[in-house]
């Protein structure tokens, strides 16, 4: 067996016997479904929840039925403005001239109740106007001279699901590609120095480049397993739960799944090289963790772009930026279920070059004399 294979097999054996790595992967795979289940329960409960309007005055006929049908409960109070601060979700004073609404925008329940109230009132107004016009012999459609008929080209529920996935999935892919193998990467680099095994390893005739490749391969496999396990568990959870009372399930298209696995391979290899390089700089595991901490922020930032700028459609040059490019390609594959081959090619090239650069840096660090002298 080549020395690459010997090192790979030994590293895998050690990693699989390391509880830290196994627990990290297991927790990551379990945490995502649990979090999604909690979100699902909260959103479903929010959708079904009844909100209370504290009111004074006389409610116009028929409006109370609309309120009840929209999940708004009416409760007579002395002072609707005061009651809207805590006692009820919002306050309303019904007069002959109209409705005075009181609500606290800092309360989420008040925001939801406000939206429902506005919806009910606008429907009530429209119905009253239509009735008045008909009484006077006027066709109510005169108020809507250019009616719009909407024909969604895909399921709105699926679109909402894709939008959710387009943020969540790249985020998990990137964080798990980084953190899934981090412990193993630091153990195989900084850990070698800390355990005083590095000198013996470098004394073997195995070429140092081969030793390093064996280590990077092992860490890449673990990162990949962590990312795929985490995403797999997420997709299984998504296929079983619903959000906000919507019965449509969120699923990943085969194209997006293929793109995701390809990107996961590239990211895992790059992160493995990078974290091993950082670990090689460190004298012990703890110092390695300190060096790797900024990576969390650097990697999470591009994933957040999709959240804050959902319609970010950059030029091809942006796909040269590592991590951001993976986020964008995956987003396009999920949201549009299409693949821009140019963007994928530039992204792949960028990630391969990044991985090669990290490998070169790791090799330089791994072969320098200071590695032994400093220890």
């Amino acid at each position: 067996m080549s020395s690459i294979g010997v090192v790979f097999r030994k590293e895998m054996r050690e990693i699989l016997r390391d509880r830290r790595t196994l627990i990290a992967i297991g927790l990551a795979a379990l945490t995502t479904p649990v979090v999604l289940f909690v979100i699902s329960q909260v959103s479903t409960r929010t959708a079904a929840q009844t909100y209370t309007i504290g009111y004074t005055g006389d409610i116009p006929t028929g409006l109370d039925i609309l309120f009840s049908a929209t999940g708004l409960k009416l409760e007579r109070v002395d002072d609707p403005a005061a009651a809207a601060k805590q006692q009820v979700d919002l306050g309303a004073i019904f007069t002959a001239k109209g409705v005075d609404e009181y609500y606290d925008p800092t309360r989420q329940s008040a925001q939801v109740a406000d939206i429902r109230l506005q919806t009910v009132l606008s429907r009530y107004d429209a119905a009253k106007i239509a009735a008045s016009l008909q009484e006077k012999g006027v066709d109510p459609s005169v108020l809507n001279p250019l009616p719009v008929t909407v024909h969604p080209l895909s399921s709105p529920a699926q679109a909402a699901g894709n939008s959710f996935l387009s943020f969540f999935l790249p985020y998990i892919l990137i964080t798990m590609s980084l953190t899934g193998g981090l412990s193993a990467a630091l153990d195989t680099s900084a850990g070698e120095r800390e355990r005083k095994t590095l000198e013996s390893l470098l004394l073997t005739p195995a070429p140092r480049g081969h030793v390093l490749i064996g280590k990077i391969l092992a860490v890449s496999v673990i990162s990949l397993v962590a990312a795929v396990a985490s995403i797999g568990s997420m997709l299984i959870a998504l296929s079983q739960i619903t959000f906000g009372g919507n019965q449509a399930r969120i699923s990943l298209s085969p194209l997006a799944a293929i793109v995701m696995v390809w990107l996961a391979v590239l990211l895992a290899a790059s992160f493995a090289s990078l974290t091993i390089a950082l670990g090689t700089l460190a004298r012990n595991f703890r110092q390695g963790q300190a060096y790797a901490t900024p990576l969390y922020f650097i990697t999470i930032f591009p994933a957040s772009i999709v959240l804050f700028i959902p319609d970010f459609n950059p030029s091809l040059a942006y796909y040269l930026i590592p991590i951001l490019n993976a986020v964008l390609v995956l987003r396009d594959a999920i949201v549009h279920n299409s693949l821009a081959w140019g963007a994928l090619a530039v992204t792949s090239l960028s990630l391969v070059l990044t991985g090669a650069g990290c490998f070169y840096a790791a090799l330089r660090l791994f072969t320098r004399e200071a590695l032994l002298v400093r220890s």
Binding site: K196, L201, P205
Partner: protein, 242 residues
């Protein structure tokens, strides 16, 4: 086999601003224990690290069995086994797995692997803990693992760098016996130490270095000369060189 197992010629090395070696020359032969003696910081470990290709010299040259360390470092590493005071082992591998790993990296072929590993386990009497994870071994047992992994590929040159400094009396005794046994097998044994009683008892020839320079060298009895023992000779030579 070349007559000289190791030949070091006018070796110089600086580590940062510190000039550690200032023209060290020495030779070690097959079938002898060669002592590399000196106080802490004299340059013993740096010399050994250059011989086994972990460090590159700034000037001078080193040959191991005819292979220049600068030209053919992998060939040199194939022929050298090194035991240090730092007995780091892979804690989640068993003693046997630790040894097999280094055997494979040292080029022991698959067909020979089991036989060679078993042979070294027998030789060092490690059968009782061979399957135990290294994290649960005692210091003496870990030192045996460290020796086993250094010799499993049967190198003709063995280097021991302060091998007994962290060990108890029994384990130290076993290391000394092992060096003598290796000498009997025709190996060239280089023993770096500042424990002069050990050196006097074991070494056929010694070189004393101080502040990166050789202050004396030759057969042990000759270096001891008119002094009561090697320690007196060492102190006198080092004092004269300071």
């Amino acid at each position: 086999m070349t007559e000289k197992a190791v030949k070091v010629d006018r070796l110089e090395k600086a580590l940062g601003a510190n000039k550690v070696l200032r023209g060290i020359s020495l030779e070690a032969h097959p079938g002898e224990i060669f002592g590399l003696l000196g106080p802490n910081g004299a340059g013993k470990t740096t010399t050994l690290r250059i011989i086994c290709t972990l460090l590159a010299p700034d000037a001078g040259s080193v040959e191991v069995l005819g292979f220049d360390t600068q030209v053919a470092p992998e060939e040199v590493r194939r022929r050298v086994g090194v035991v240090t005071a730092e007995i780091g082992v892979y804690p989640r591998l068993s003693a046997r797995e630790n040894i097999a790993y280094f055997a494979e990296l040292s080029g022991v072929l698959d067909g020979e692997l089991d036989r060679k590993v078993e042979a070294v386990l027998d030789r060092l009497d490690m059968g009782s803990f061979a399957k135990q994870r290294a994290e649960s071994l005692s210091s003496g047992q870990k030192q045996k693992v460290a020796i086993a992994r250094a010799i499993v590929h049967d190198p003709p040159v063995l280097m021991f760098d302060e091998p007994t400094s962290n060990l108890d009396v029994l384990a130290s005794r076993e290391i000394r016996d092992f060096m003598v046994e290796s000498k009997g097998r025709g190996k060239s044994v280089i023993f770096s130490t500042h424990v002069l009683h050990d050196a006097e008892r074991l070494c056929d020839r010694v070189t004393i270095i101080h502040q990166g320079r050789v202050v004396a060298g030759g057969p042990t009895a000759e270096v001891r000369g008119r002094y009561h023992d090697l320690e007196d000779a060492f102190l006198s030579l080092v004092e004269a060189a300071t």
